[in-house]
Every structure is written in structure tokens, then in C-alpha cells.
């Protein structure tokens, strides 16, 4: 399949652009929109126009860490938040019983509506051209990228190029014994570009990911499953979406929970010799956090059931995504597996699950701007960089797109740090550690996650988005007003004293606390676990202007958790000191003996900028850092090539 019978004989010169983005998945869309909105003539090329912002895997956006990235993209002026707010079919806040740092918004998407809405936005964006085409090679001169050449012979020149190739680069789909060359969802793969990248000196890796089967909802007996409805409480991803647009619960669609059982597991075990994951067919490395069902059965043999979520793929389709049963088993085995699960005994398989292998650029070959070290003015983002997930892709696309745009305009790059955004955590992880498996963001990857909350993404990044020209003046003014209201109210609560009167003390005693003897500051009172801002309001004068839901949220979190926030900020200060210890660019690691072999290799490969970055490289131990610091301090570093 996807065999090329003949190549074009002649190329032709297309128009010149400032920025070209290759691939219109979740990374490519953000990259292209950002570049165009920053005033660059931008070309967005995609293999198939039907695949713009397509969701080839789960029909949902957000979740722990990921949901925060969506808010960060939104605060920088990106599209994912707005687009999902237009097209969701269910909205749920996860981790509501936990602290503010880890609450996570997740939406089920109408995947077709999501694609259409994003395509429409792109089509109507000034400075942006959307065109179908497969990029076969890059135009480079002396290690500088100058444009691209497509399979139809078009040559486009550009100041910068962003590659967001997803799983299309030499994609290979595997279903049981069947293997064929393909991009996601049976689209045409990009067969030529990888070779061109290798010729340019890039080191490529082979990763694998997979998707579960889809079944016909008309044939599911939902009564045997547990309903998982959305939330009544209003929430959106974008800071721009008004509360009034929230879908009433009755207009949201539910997901449904069921379980695999011993019968399912037996079917899988009996057919393991036909499982590409285990019989050597799949060579690429798959993600640990998103394992196939056969992988789960083998690795966790003692578990007698696994959760399966049935998720609707949209309003205008009966296709259901069988979340939890990602598989590349032969089709008839998949059918048997499905039929063994409660509620799906008679379910019709509409599409089989499959594994897909694809090429990635090992991300240690990138600078912290996502420009490649190998070819100047070339940027990569999304699955190309070894990540997985729509949100991770969007965050990177935004970041690479902004930096490609800034370079095209001759401006300084945007660097997001670990303490500023999950995007910064992800960028630093990728360029510092590389990755041995498809990378997914987790809240545990962020050491300052209390500072990187989903509720304060606007506080962290709107200013930057505005400076880049990605945030409208109107939105910026609204942001400034919100910020002032939050700070004003926090200051006010630090001045109001609550006197120990009967009303207050009765309330306190109802919660099993000792009554007040002396007056207490309103801010201190708010820190009690059973006090919310709305309760506090009963005991203090009204603020000059009524406060909105999101202002109250900020005031509450920043007051209640002030102690922990301060601790996190102190840690950031420590980090900054370590970041200030720079490693000279001309350092010769071969001249430093005593480094462990692995540390020596990694340092040489990654070339960290600071002691802080070096200390984050896996395989570089504190003793290696000690040795490195000693050498730098002693000036032994002077011995360079």
C-alpha cells in the first residue's frame, strides 16, 4: 500500500512565505495560527485536508497536567481551548477532592465538529494559507533551512520551517499479521521526508502507539455499564468563553464504564503468539502510561479485571471509542475480546484497533527554543519530538510556532521555564533528557506544580501572549482588571479584622473549633479548612465591586495555600541560582575524568547550558555534578579542543 508508482519529474516554484508549517494536526494548527497571528505570511501543509485537527485516538481533551497545558495555550493566545469549548459534548472537572494544583478539566469532544471548527478558523485566518501536500524534502543551504519541496513538485521558500509530522513519518499500521504503510486513520504516510532528515544528519527513532477498536453504540447494552455523566458546574477551557455558553447537563453526552474479565484475559493469553506486541512484529517503543490491553494482561497478570470506558465520538455518529482496550491483535481476536465484556456481548466492531509505528526526531537534538541543533531555522513539534497526546502537541506547536515566527522577524526567542508553565517543563524534559518512550506530561513531572495551576495560567502567561501580539487588546484589558481585582481583594482581606462576636463564634463552634478570643485577620480566617470566600463574606463588609467567580477562586487559593506557595517560590529561587551556574559552551567532557561513563556520554550529547540543567539529565548523578562543578570552579575547563 501507499506505494509510489512514479515521482514528479519537474519541480515548480511556488510563492515565498515567512513560515511554513508541515502537518496540520494539533501541533501544526497552533504553530501556523500563532505564526500568522504574529504577522507572518504562513503556509500550512497537510497530507489530507480532512485530517486538520483530527483526533485519531481518544475523543477527549484535557485531564491532569494536559488540561493545564490547554489553558496555557489559551493564555498565550492559542486555539485549542476555544475550539474545544465550541465543540465539547461533556465537561468534567477531575480531582475536585484534591488540592488546587492538581484539579483538572477534561472535555469529551465531538471529534468531527472539533476538526470542522478548527479548519474553519484556519481558513478564515488572515496571513494563513492551508494547502494539501506531502513534504518530501527540505531546502537547505549550508545547514540553514530555506524551504520545502512537496511530492507534487512545488518548491516553497521560507525563512523558517516547523515540522509537525505526527505519526505520518514512515508510518506503519499493524493489525495482527497485517502490516501496511500508512499514516494515522488509514491516511497516506510521508515516505520521503525521513530519509531527507537522516541525510541532513538527524538521528531518528522508531516509536509505537496504538488505538482501541470502535464499536457501534446501537449494539451496546448500556444497562450493563455504569453511567459517567458530565458536570453541572460551569467550566470552560478558554479564559474567553463566557459562562453563559456552558452546556446544560441534559445536553451533554455521558461516557459508560465497564470492565474486562477473566474470559477477556484468557482470549488474549491464548492469542499472544499472534500479538504483534509480543511476537516481534512491533519494533517501536510504546508508552508505559498508555499500554495496550495485551500489555496490561502480561505485565499485571494478577489483575482479574481492567476498566473500560465507552466514549461517544460525537453527536452525529454512533461510533464509540473503547477506552482501555487499545490493541493490535488480529481483527477476529479483537471481536472476541469485545464480546467478552459486559455490555458489549453483541457489539458490532466498526473499526479494529491498531498499532502504528512512526519516526521521531530524538529531542536531545533540539535547542530549548525547539530549533534543531542540526539545521538552523528548522523547528520540530508534537509527536515528531517523541511526545504523545493532543495537548502536549498543541503546547509544543504553540511554542515552536512562536519561536519560528520570532526568528522570521529577527526577534529574540521565547523561552518558558520549568517554573513558568507545564509547556516549559515539557520543553526542558525533552531537550534535557530526550525520551525513550512516547512522552506524556504528568503532574509529577512538574516540581513546582503548585505554581503551575490551571486556575492561574492566565496570570502566568497572558502578559507574554499580549507582548507577542497573540492576545487582543480587549482580552488584555479584561485580564488586567481581573488581576487588579484579585490583588486588591487579597490586600483588603489582609486589613480587615474579624471581631469575636456571637455570630462568628457560633459558626466556628459548629465546626468544632474553639471560639475566637481576639480579633483575627480576614485572610487568616479564610485559611481555616471549613471557611470559603462565600462564607467569609458573611462576616466582613462587601467589596467595593462585586467579584466574579474566577476572581474569588484566585483570592481563595492564594490565601488558603499561601504557606505552600511561598515554599514553592523559595524553591524556584534555589533553581534560579543553579541556573545561574553556566557551563561554558566550549567545555570538553573528554578532558574530565571521573565522570561515570553514562554521565559522560549524556553530557556530551545534550550539552547542557547550566549546572541546573545538567543535574536534570537522567544518568547524571549528584557525584557527577560535584565533579563537574569542581572542574568548572578550578578552571580545569580551560583545556578545550
Amino acid at each position: 500500500m501507499s506505494e509510489i508508482f512514479s515521482h514528479v519529474k519537474q519541480t515548480y516554484q511556488g510563492p515565498d512565505y515567512d513560515v511554513i508549517v508541515v502537518g496540520a494536526g494539533h501541533a501544526g494548527c497552533e504553530a501556523a495560527l500563532a505564526a500568522a497571528r504574529m504577522g507572518n505570511q504562513t503556509l500550512l501543509l497537510t497530507i489530507n485536508l480532512e485530517m486538520v485537527a483530527f483526533m485519531p485516538c481518544n475523543p477527549s481533551v484535557g485531564g491532569p497536567a494536559k488540561g493545564i497545558v490547554v489553558r496555557e495555550v489559551d493564555a498565550l493566545g492559542g486555539e485549542m481551548g476555544r475550539n474545544i469549548d465550541k465543540t465539547y459534548i461533556q465537561m468534567r472537572m477531575l480531582n475536585t477532592g484534591k488540592g488546587p494544583a492538581v484539579r483538572a478539566l477534561r472535555a469529551q469532544a465531538d471529534k468531527h465538529a472539533y476538526h470542522r471548527a478548527m479548519k474553519e478558523t484556519i481558513e478564515n485566518q488572515p496571513n494563513l494559507t492551508l494547502r494539501q501536500g506531502i513534504v518530501d524534502s527540505l531546502i537547505t543551504e549550508d545547514g540553514v533551512c530555506k524551504g520545502v519541496v512537496t511530492n507534487t513538485g512545488a518548491k516553497y521558500n521560507a525563512k523558517t520551517v516547523v515540522l509537525c509530522t505526527g505519526t505520518s513519518a514512515r508510518g506503519r499500521i499493524i493489525i495482527g499479521e497485517l502490516q501496511y504503510s500508512s499514516g494515522p486513520n488509514n491516511t497516506q504516510p510521508a515516505l520521503e521526508l525521513s530519509k531527507n532528515l537522516e541525510d541532513l544528519g538527524f538521528k531518528l527513532k522508531r516509536f509505537k502507539t496504538g488505538t482501541p477498536p470502535r464499536v457501534d453504540g446501537n449494539t451496546i447494552d448500556f444497562s450493563q455499564t455504569t453511567e459517567q455523566p458530565g458536570d453541572k458546574e460551569v467550566n470552560h477551557f478558554s479564559y474567553e468563553t463566557p459562562d453563559s455558553q456552558y452546556l446544560e447537563l441534559k445536553n451533554q453526552l455521558s461516557c459508560w464504564l465497564t470492565y474486562t474479565n477473566e474470559k477477556t484475559h484468557a482470549i488474549i493469553r491464548e492469542n499472544l503468539d499472534r500479538a504483534p506486541m509480543f511476537n516481534g512484529t512491533v519494533e517501536g517503543i510504546g508508552p508505559r502510561y498508555c499500554p495496550s490491553i495485551e500489555d496490561k494482561i502480561v505485565r499485571f497478570a494478577d489483575k482479574d479485571h481492567h476498566q473500560v470506558f465507552l466514549e461517544p465520538e460525537g453527536r452525529e455518529t454512533q461510533e464509540y471509542y473503547v477506552n482501555g482496550m487499545s490493541t493490535s491483535m488480529p481483527e477476529e481476536v479483537q471481536q472476541n475480546m469485545i464480546h467478552s465484556v459486559a455490555g458489549m456481548q453483541n457489539a458490532e466492531l466498526m473499526r479494529p484497533g491498531y498499532a502504528i509505528e512512526y519516526d521521531v526526531v530524538d529531542p536531545y537534538q533540539l535547542k530549548p527554543t525547539f530549533e534543531t541543533k542540526v539545521v538552523k531555522n528548522l523547528y520540530t513539534a508534537g509527536q515528531t519530538n517523541g511526545t504523545s497526546g493532543y495537548e502536549e502537541a498543541a503546547g509544543q506547536g504553540m511554542y515552536a510556532g512562536i519561536n519560528a515566527a520570532l526568528r522570521a522577524q529577527g526577534k529574540d526567542p521565547l523561552i518558558l521555564k520549568r517554573n513558568e508553565a507545564y509547556i516549559g517543563v515539557m520543553v526542558d524534559d525533552l531537550v534535557t533528557k530526550g525520551t525513550n518512550e512516547p512522552y506524556r506530561l504528568l503532574t509529577s513531572r512538574a516540581e513546582y506544580r503548585l505554581l503551575l495551576r490551571h486556575d492561574n495560567a492566565d496570570m502566568r502567561l497572558t502578559e507574554k501572549g499580549y507582548e507577542l501580539g497573540l492576545i487582543s487588546e480587549e482580552r488584555y484589558q479584561a485580564f488586567l482588571a481581573k488581576k487588579a481585582a484579585v490583588e486588591g481583594e487579597i490586600e483588603r482581606l489582609n486589613k480587615i479584622r474579624i471581631k469575636p462576636n456571637d455570630e462568628v463564634n457560633q459558626f466556628i463552634q459548629e465546626h468544632g473549633d474553639k471560639p475566637l478570643q481576639d480579633g483575627v485577620l480576614a485572610s487568616v480566617f479564610l485559611r481555616r479548612p471549613y471557611v470559603t470566600y462565600n462564607i467569609l463574606k458573611r462576616f466582613i463588609p462587601e467589596p467595593a465591586k462585586p467579584l466574579g467567580r474566577r476572581v474569588i477562586e484566585q483570592v481563595e487559593i492564594r490565601t488558603k495555600y499561601a504557606g505552600y506557595i511561598k515554599k514553592a517560590e523559595e524553591n524556584v529561587e534555589k533553581l534560579k541560582k543553579m541556573e545561574a551556574k553556566k557551563i561554558p559552551e566550549n567545555i570538553d567532557y573528554d578532558a574530565i575524568d571521573g565522570l561515570a561513563t553514562e554521565a559522560h556520554q549524556k553530557l556530551k550529547q545534550i550539552q547542557p547550558h547550566s549546572i541546573a540543567q545538567a543535574s536534570r539529565i537522567s544518568g547524571v548523578n549528584p557525584s557527577d555534578i560535584a565533579i563537574l562543578s569542581v572542574y568548572i570552579q578550578q578552571g580545569r575547563i580551560a583545556k578545550t579542543k
Partner: protein, 465 residues
């Protein structure tokens, strides 16, 4: 990468304690170690012998017509399987400070330089041979004052402390991984939901262990630095005889503290394995032959800086005002009251003394007849090993100041966890302090924590939809 360090020159030092025992070792380490030894050794061709062999021969002095200096055994250990990961030569010679020093001088004039204190260990660390905690243990070993101290240091060198700390960290890591799973996979139903109650239990458990370790720190510090001990008493009660007994020649290690006058000599004695650092022995000695002029003022000074006070009373005389003052001054210090001169008829108010200090802390001695002195030694050892500080379960003692400081910080992080839970903070916030505790403990062993948590997460739980 080269296995030996070309940056480093060749160093040498006497690696056995000065003045002791029948054999002394001169150690040479570095690229030129073989060159140095072949220039000054007569015997087999050491360039041809196998690594890690010991060879009989003689050391000669090339500068003095190859005069034979000593009969020796020479260990040849080639890089990289040596302590420093460099070529190492050890010359075993016939003890005696003069002969040993002469050999060292010859080594130094044939291409090696004098090693700085701890430099062998520093190289072992820099060359990646040992971890941070181990290298610190070696430094303590070098400084160790008695066999007990040596044992504490050796225990740590074996990695006993590291082992213990790693177990603690693993226990914390298990909980943390579980907390993370709860956060990152809120719908995953197979991981136990870590409630603040569970976290509180774990925090308390770890806290108890850290506290236990810190208790040993006190003991460990004494083993390393010596137990500061003052011998006080009014004139002519027999302080100097007690001192002289404790300073029995073969036990005494006398150190001249640099930069101070001879008056503040610190004398170390080994009392049943407890190193005592005797305070102001010069003061006691100086006045020995004359009418003693040590006033209470001088005693007060000694008492203030002492961990243990040996208060000497004359049992053949009633208590004087000065005795009573000294008893009052030592009220809050760990003390042993020595009723000396039991060879004479008893006149002291025994019941009064007993009431003040308790039965078990009174030792009757006759320094003249060397009576009761071993009881004193036993009492000191018992005070220290049994009553002073309990031994920890694994006999690990924390002796290093950096470790103690980190353990204290870990303890306060755990207190923050407990306080946070008390004030109703959610798990994922309290977890910040738990993580901090884990990092602090990791700093003791110098362990990397990169990605450990994630590996734990994915090995323990079947994650992902």
C-alpha cells in the same frame, strides 16, 4: 575515557596512625606510583609482578648511594581496581616513626608529593570509586579516635547508613508514587486512594526512624570527637591521681591543637571504647606539685564545656562549702561523683551526696591503692552506651555533621507534613513536604532521584486507559 586521572599528580602519605603498632604503611597513588617505587625498591621487578600482589624487598635511598633503609613488603595495585582508581603502591615497613618518616621522605624526593589530609579519599570520590556518604565515612575513619569510633565509621563505609536511608526513601517513594497515581489517574480504581490519614501514618513512621537515627548522632558525634570530660574538685582530693590513672600510657593519644597554647592541651583517653576528651588537664597537672590554686571559677569554666563531669570528693572529710558549690554547679550536667580516698576512714555525709546525685552515679575509689577505678571505667561506658543513648536497631550511627543537619531538616519537613494534615491541607500539598523529606534523605546518600518516581509509578500500577 581514560581510566586514570591524568589531571592528578602522584601523592604519598603515611596511612597508618603515627606512633602505633609494629607496622606502618606508606601509600603512594597516581600515574607515577610505579616509577617512584622502582627507583627506590630492591627485589623483584615490580613492573612485571601481577596486580594486587605483595612483594618482599628493601627500600634504598638513591640519594645516599642506595643505602638500604628498611626491609619491607610492597603491595602493587594497578588501576583501576584500587581505592583511588589510580595505580597504588603500599610500602609496609617496620613501624617506628623515624624509619617510616625516612621512607616517606625518600618517596617524596623520587617523584611524589605529600598528600593533603583526605586526598586519597577525594580522589576515590572524584574518580567515581565511592559515593558521597562513603567518602565521608572514610574521612571519619581517618579521624576516628577509638576502636568503637572506627567501627561506626566502618559501618557507614560498608553502606549501612546508605542502606538504612535507602529503605526509608523507598518507603516514602511508595506513598508518593501512590499519591501521584491518584492525581494523574483519578479514574483508575486499582490504586489505593492515599488519604491524609494514610500519609499521616507514614509520616509518623518515617519520623520515628529519623529520630532514632538522630539519637545515634549524639552518640556518633561523641565517638568521633570524644566525650568532653572535666575532672573537678577542690584541691588535694586526688584529681591528678584519677587523671593519671585514666591517662594510662598505652591508651593516651595526645594532640596538640594547632594555634593554641600548650595550656589547652586536649588529651584523649579510651575508656572501655568511649573516647574521652579531657578538658584542662594542664590545669590539673600544673598545680599538681604546688599548693593548688584552682578556684571554683576555673572549675565552672570546665563544667560549662563538658558533656560529662567527674566530680572528685574526699570521702575522709565532711563536705565543704566548696564541695557543695561544685555539686550545685554540676546539677544539670551528666556527672559521676568519685568518693576518693576510701583507704582512709569515711567522714563524708554519704546520705546527703546520695540524695543529690543518686546511688548509681557514686563510685568509691582509692586512687592510691588503684581501687574502684575499673568500676569508674565501667560506669562511664554504661552511661554512654546504655543510658545515654539507645543503640539503634542496626547499629548504624550517624557521625557526620552534614548528615546530622540533613536529618534535622528531614525531621522538620516531616513535622510540616504532620502539621499540614492537622490544619486540613489536601494530600497533594502535604505531599510537597514529603517529597522534600525524600530529597533531603537522598542528599545524604548522594542518590539521584531523576525519574525514580516515574519508574516506580509504572512498575507498580497498571496505568492508562
Amino acid at each position: 575515557m581514560a581510566l586514570t586521572t591524568t589531571e592528578f599528580d602522584t601523592i604519598a602519605a603515611i596511612s597508618t596512625p603515627p606512633g602505633e603498632g609494629g607496622i606502618a604503611i606508606v601509600r603512594v597513588s597516581g600515574e607515577d606510583a610505579m616509577k617512584v617505587i622502582t627507583a627506590i625498591y630492591r627485589g623483584k621487578d615490580l613492573n612485571k609482578v601481577a596486580s594486587h600482589t605483595i612483594n618482599y624487598g628493601h627500600i634504598v635511598d638513591p640519594a645516599n648511594h642506595n643505602e638500604t633503609v628498611d626491609e619491607v613488603m610492597v603491595s602493587v595495585m594497578r588501576a583501576p581496581n584500587t581505592y583511588t582508581k589510580e595505580d597504588v603502591i603500599e610500602i609496609n615497613c617496620h613501624g617506628g616513626i623515624v624509619a617510616t618518616n625516612r621512607i616517606l621522605q625518600i618517596v617524596l624526593s623520587n617523584g611524589a608529593r605529600m598528600a593533603n589530609p583526605g586526598e586519597f579519599t577525594e580522589r576515590a570520590f572524584l574518580n567515581g570509586r565511592i559515593d558521597l556518604s562513603q567518602s565521608e565515612a572514610v574521612m571519619d575513619l581517618i579521624e576516628a579516635k577509638t576502636d568503637q569510633s572506627m567501627k561506626a565509621a566502618l559501618n557507614q563505609l560498608d553502606g549501612n547508613l546508605s542502606h538504612l536511608i535507602r529503605n526509608l526513601r523507598q518507603a516514602i517513594l511508595d506513598v508518593l508514587a501512590n499519591v501521584e497515581v491518584n492525581i494523574d489517574y483519578p479514574e483508575y480504581d486499582d490504586a489505593e486512594t492515599i488519604t491524609t490519614k494514610l500519609l499521616l501514618d507514614k509520616a509518623k513512621e518515617v519520623r520515628a526512624s529519623v529520630e532514632q537515627l538522630l539519637k545515634t548522632a549524639k552518640q556518633g558525634k561523641v565517638l568521633r570527637d570524644g566525650l568532653a570530660t572535666a575532672i573537678v574538685g577542690r584541691p588535694n582530693v586526688g584529681k591528678s591521681s584519677i587523671l593519671n590513672h585514666l591517662l594510662h600510657e598505652d591508651k593516651a593519644i595526645v594532640t596538640n591543637v594547632p594555634g593554641t597554647t600548650r595550656d589547652v592541651l586536649e588529651e584523649y583517653v579510651n575508656v572501655s571504647g568511649v573516647p574521652l576528651k579531657l578538658i584542662d588537664t594542664a590545669g590539673i597537672r600544673k598545680t599538681d606539685d604546688q599548693v593548688e590554686k584552682i578556684g571554683v571559677e576555673r572549675s565552672r569554666k570546665s563544667i560549662n564545656s563538658a558533656d560529662l563531669v567527674l566530680l572528685v570528693l574526699n570521702s575522709s572529710e565532711p563536705l565543704t562549702a566548696e564541695d557543695r558549690e561544685l555539686l550545685a554547679l554540676t546539677k544539670d550536667t551528666k556527672r559521676i561523683v568519685i568518693l576518693n580516698k576510701t583507704d582512709l576512714p569515711m567522714a563524708i555525709e554519704l546520705s546527703e551526696v546520695k540524695q543529690l546525685v543518686g546511688d548509681e552515679n557514686i563510685i568509691s575509689t582509692s586512687a592510691m591503692k588503684a581501687d574502684g577505678l575499673s568500676a569508674l571505667e565501667q560506669r562511664i561506658a554504661k552511661l554512654f552506651f546504655e543510658e545515654g543513648i539507645e543503640n539503634s536497631q542496626s547499629n548504624v550511627m550517624v557521625t557526620n555533621a552534614r548528615h546530622i543537619s540533613l536529618l534535622n531538616q528531614a525531621l522538620s519537613a516531616l513535622d510540616d507534613v504532620i502539621n499540614g494534615i492537622d490544619s486540613g491541607m489536601p494530600v497533594d500539598l502535604v505531599q510537597i513536604d514529603m517529597t522534600r523529606c525524600w530529597e533531603l534523605l537522598g542528599e545524604i546518600t548522594g542518590d539521584s532521584y531523576n525519574d525514580e518516581l516515574l519508574d516506580q509509578l509504572f512498575s507498580q500500577f497498571c496505568l492508562g486507559k
